[in-house]
């Protein structure tokens, strides 16, 4: 039985294919359309998944849609009319998109894929998240926690999952419904801090490390914790039902002061600590607010997880929903609760809900070995690079560099050279040498990663101990705020030296999903990847998970003594990760990247020698 999972309509459209309990392929639509968080029908992701799985649409037996549009529509209607007569604009806009297409999602899928509607099933949105959380965990049974902005109605939900007679059974235990949403509180304050909601939450998390949680008591009054681990949000401080207005209400602003003016930016830096001391006082208030909402979030998810553990007695926890992207909060889930193992899916947000929907529907009939199945993050498209490599010698560097990013000025390269390696050993040896020579390397290999993390196939790499290069990466390649730290990739063996424990068996440590303290004595050797609080987001790379990237880490160790590299996603500001080698090349020629590695070919920029 083959099930296609589809998610679209809000943000991060995606598709996934599950066959007899095994996930074959999954991809985000934005990798193909180059529109970050694209919410449109995932035409290109479906095509790519079918191609990758070696299937055609005719092979698909059933389709699972990640949410129940009718149920969600009741929530939209209630929210629209709740603020009557002040919500005409919101109502008109919501009705246009809902009556225009969102409500008829099943018909749209049927029409687009030429499949009879009887083969399409809709699922509760948080059930899709829950199934995504459990799929690939290898647990026989587990407690599941979903923390999201808002699904159909639920915002936070808990479940228990187990395999019964070869079928997956997921039982709902508790849910907190809209408008009481911890995720929306976090997003509203993200907006208050000057970032874009649904995108800038990671910036709020990063900014938190520069502040003190001095507003925590106030926020705890507004988002009150209940005895059962759930919570109640005082709605007078937020505009959750007036969804086209600012998330925080006038009352919130009266209490905490005005939001960040849009023209201002934060002077904090992970690289230049002096800048933090010199930061103006009025900006420290925002860092304190970020620290407060972060702490609030941590306390609430710990409390929910503790209640869930007490209720279920389970030792395994699966965590999904956008809240599971908060790697700092995740680090407390094993420390502060009785759970012994934690699994977070590779895309815990809405993008992964297509996986969950397909997996749940597919496993409602006995599916043999699915219970102990797992999957790697490399579920996306694999691309032939030969055509792009062959055109390199026909490119005019002098002409192309006129189009380097304006903020970088005119780049100084004068040409390109290519070198194709016959073996992986040769490739990693050459690239490791370039990394040691302070080069910024674009690394495009094999199948793309599903989800938001670049785990060694669509990555930009630099040496981890040179803050000057990291700063160049931030300002002249990624255009990224200096207060956002980078992740650290390392081999399993090296992780024992770098981190404060042996975490190789815990998957969140292999996928950059959890913050971890770096040993004091190692910090100078990985200084570009450490946040001001002494933590990093580790990617412990195991040889069987990504052999070529693992070999590169080891090759770098031979030169530098440490099997560690700074690893960040291959994308420019405002764009999703590159989906094709051609787009990787576009970014390469327009930015200050020195080297691009497409499969086994190294493309170098050549410079005028002094």
């Amino acid at each position: 039985m083959i099930t296609l999972g589809v998610a679209f309509g809000y943000h991060d459209s995606s598709a996934a294919i599950v066959k007899d309990g095994q996930l074959l392929a999954a991809s985000l639509e934005d990798r193909f359309t180059r529109q970050k968080h694209d919410d449109n029908f995932p035409t290109h992701a479906i095509k790519a998944c079918l191609k990758q799985a070696g299937l055609t649409l005719a092979d698909i037996d059933e389709i699972a849609f990640h949410e129940d549009p009718q149920l969600k529509f009741t929530r939209i209607l209630c929210a629209g009319f709740e603020a009557f007569p002040h919500s005409r604009g919101e109502f008109v806009s919501a009705m246009k998109s809902w009556l225009g297409h969102k409500l008829w999602a099943v018909n749209k899928i049927s029409k687009k894929l030429d499949i009879h509607p009887s083969h399409i099933q809709t699922l509760d949105h948080h059930l899709s998240h829950a199934a995504n959380a459990f799929c690939g965990s290898r647990f026989n049974s587990a407690a599941i926690m979903v923390v999201d902005a808002v699904g159909d109605w639920a915002c936070t939900a808990t479940y228990r999952a187990q395999w019964t007679e070869g079928r997956l059974k997921i039982e709902k235990l508790h849910e907190v419904k809209f408008p009481h949403s911890l995720g929306l509180v976090y997003s509203a304050i993200t907006e208050y801090l000057g970032f874009t909601p649904n995108d800038g939450e990671c910036s709020t998390m990063a900014l938190a490390a520069f502040g003190e949680p001095r507003f925590l008591a106030d926020l705890e009054e507004i988002v009150a914790l209940k005895e059962d681990g759930s919570y109640f949000v005082d709605q007078s401080y937020f505009n959750f039902t007036k969804f086209y207005q600012r998330g925080c209400s006038e009352k919130f602003i009266e209490r905490f002061g005005p939001p960040l003016e849009k023209s201002q930016s934060y002077p904090f830096s992970c690289f230049d600590l002096e800048k933090n001391e010199k930061a103006p006082e009025h900006l420290k208030r925002f860092a304190d607010m970020a620290a407060s909402v972060q702490k609030l979030f941590e306390r609430h998810i710990i409390s929910t997880a503790q209640a869930l553990q007490a209720q279920t007695g389970e030792i395994n926890l699966c965590f999904a929903g956008g809240g599971a992207l908060n790697c700092v909060a995740n680090s407390y889930l094993l420390k502060e609760t009785a759970f012994q193992d934690l699994y977070i899916p590779i895309d815990p947000g809405d993008g992964g809900s297509s996986i969950g929907a397909a997996y749940y529907l597919n496993t409602q009939r006995p599916v043999g070995k699915a219970a102990d199945s797992s999957y790697l993050p490399y579920l996306g498209n694999e691309e032939d690079v030969s055509l792009d490599v062959s055109m390199i010698e026909h490119l005019s560097a002098g002409y192309l560099k006129r189009y380097s990013k304006e903020s970088f000025g005119k780049l100084s390269y004068k040409g390109f050279s290519t070198e194709t390696c016959e073996s992986d050993e040769k490739l990693v040896e050459l690239v490791a040498r370039e990394l040691a020579e302070r080069k910024i390397v674009g690394w495009f290999q094999g199948r793309g990663e599903m989800g938001p993390r670049a785990l060694g196939n669509r990555s930009i790499l630099i040496r981890p101990d040179d803050q000057e290069v990291a700063l160049r990466l931030s300002t002249r390649v990624k255009e990224r705020a200096e207060f956002r730290p980078y992740a650290l990739a390392m081999t399993g063996e090296e992780s024992l030296e770098v981190l404060d424990g042996d975490y190789r068996h815990l998957s969140p440590y292999r996928r950059m999903q959890i913050a971890s303290t770096v040993r004091e004595e190692v910090r100078p050797q990985v200084s570009s990847c450490i946040h001001v609080d002494g933590t990093t987001r580790p990617q412990i790379c195991l040889e069987d998970e990504n052999p070529r990237f693992h070999a590169l880490l080891n090759a770098y160790k031979k030169i530098s003594g440490k099997a560690c590299l700074l690893n960040t996603s291959f994308n420019a500001k405002g764009y999703p990760m590159v989906g094709t080698p051609l787009l990787a090349l576009v970014m390469f020629v327009r930015s200050d990247m020195d080297l691009l590695v497409l499969d086994r070919t190294i493309i170098r920029k050549t410079y005028e020698t002094a």
Partner: protein, 224 residues
Amino acid sequence: MIRMKAIYSTFLDFRNWFFMRFLWGMSEKNYYRTVELFAATEADTVWQLVYGIDKIHDPNFRAQVFTQIVEEDFHAETFYKISRARPEAIYRVPPQEKEFLYSDDDPVWKLLAYCYVGEEEAARQFESIARVTPVPELKKALDKIVEDEAGHVVKAYRLLKGLGATDGQIRWELIKIRFKRRIQTMQRSLKKLFEYLIDGMLSVIYFFFGPLLSLYARKKMEGR
């Protein structure tokens, strides 16, 4: 023919002057919205070319189209930067459903012809806007983009022929494309008109059913 072109150019100037002084003058948001739409159009051209280039296997022609992609990407970014220079006035074009303009069976030169016609028309528009815009940063960007477009037509013609199109085919295709683009412009205007109508209807529904439904909605929300 030359006189016709001059008349058309004057008409464009007048139209752009009217839009900029009148609509942009009414609200700064209109100005940023227009520039954001320019950016989205350029970004769509990039996407179409990235999709279409897969069919080009000759490294030399591929390199030419790649160069075009880099240029268009730069133009899109230039417009984005201008449109987002004043964050409080930001209008963001929602992600568009991306559909390839031609079927997989169509020769790739047709797509390139389409893009070049679009570029040529856009360049003419930009040139006209640059003449009348009161916004210096937009004038500078438009001048640079128009300068980039100069010489493209000759290069494009050479590229299309290199990819197997004959003179007759190119001429006929360009006529079809221009006609198609006029129809698209008309459709967009009609859609906008239709949307105003829908807005009005929905507003009537909102105020008619609102008093009753708001009681139900508030009860449901309070119960949570």
